[in-house]
């Protein structure tokens, strides 16, 4: 399978809470990206973190990368109902491909 492991598969939280999603991968990477997908739409790029970076922020998003554990996490702080979507991690394999995980389905209750 092309897909990495994402955890949890689904997450339901209350508005205002933080949401944390994790991603693990098996092979070496040169970068890791996070995307968001609303139902019935294409994916939207959120953030890219390179293999020599450990943490990156963008607004309410915080991404960490631990290359020794081959894992990354996406934290969404102070979640809103509009954050309800599927979130995917994707790794650049050093070649041409960007390989996606199976995703975490986040539901934020108002």
């Amino acid at each position: 399978s092309q897909q990495g492991e994402e955890d949890p598969q689904a997450l339901s939280i209350q508005e205002g809470e933080n949401a944390t999603m994790n991603c693990s991968y098996k092979t070496s990477i040169n970068n890791l990206q996070w995307y968001r997908q609303n139902s019935g739409r294409g994916l939207v790029h959120l953030i890219l973190i390179r293999s020599n970076e450990r943490e990156k922020h963008s607004g309410r998003l915080r991404v960490t990368l631990d290359t020794s554990k081959k894992s990354s996490s996406l934290l969404i702080t102070a979640s809103r109902a509009a954050d309800t979507a599927s979130y995917f991690c994707a790794r650049g394999d050093g070649g041409f491909k960007t390989i996606f995980g199976a995703g975490t389905r986040l539901f934020v209750k108002a």
């Binding site: 050093g94 041409f96 491909k97 996606f100």
Partner: protein
């Protein structure tokens, strides 16, 4: 254009028929990707173009699938002798450079249903 455009948005076809799915990438993006997404799954890589050439077609499931990008812009994914298992959302994405290190910009996909 403003973003990646895919047509049609929905396609219903009978088993055994031929279909073409079109992707119009962002102007100036040299890299173009096709992915396939089944319900509840992440996008599965099919093929990557850098300019007019298919740099990596290792994700195409079999020889019924073929894609072209003759002028380095618009791309067409062609599926011959469609099977029910081909039903999925086909996503196109473009990026400025490719090489897996620049963000992908996705279209909204074509939902293919084979009956």
């Amino acid at each position: 254009g403003a973003g990646v455009s895919q047509t049609p948005s929905n396609k219903v076809t009978e088993k055994g028929k031929y279909v073409e799915l079109r992707c119009d990438p962002i102007s100036g993006h040299t890299a173009l990707y096709w992915y396939r997404q089944s319900l509840g799954q992440g996008p599965e890589f099919l093929i990557y173009f850098q300019g007019t050439g298919a740099a990596d077609d290792s994700g195409l499931p079999n020889d019924r699938f073929f894609a072209v990008r003759p002028e380095g812009s618009v791309s067409t994914l062609k599926i011959q002798r469609t099977e029910r298992g081909d039903s999925a959302v086909y996503l196109c994405a473009s990026s400025l450079r490719g090489l897996g290190d620049s963000p992908l910009h996705f279209g909204n996909g074509t939902r293919l249903t084979v009956t």
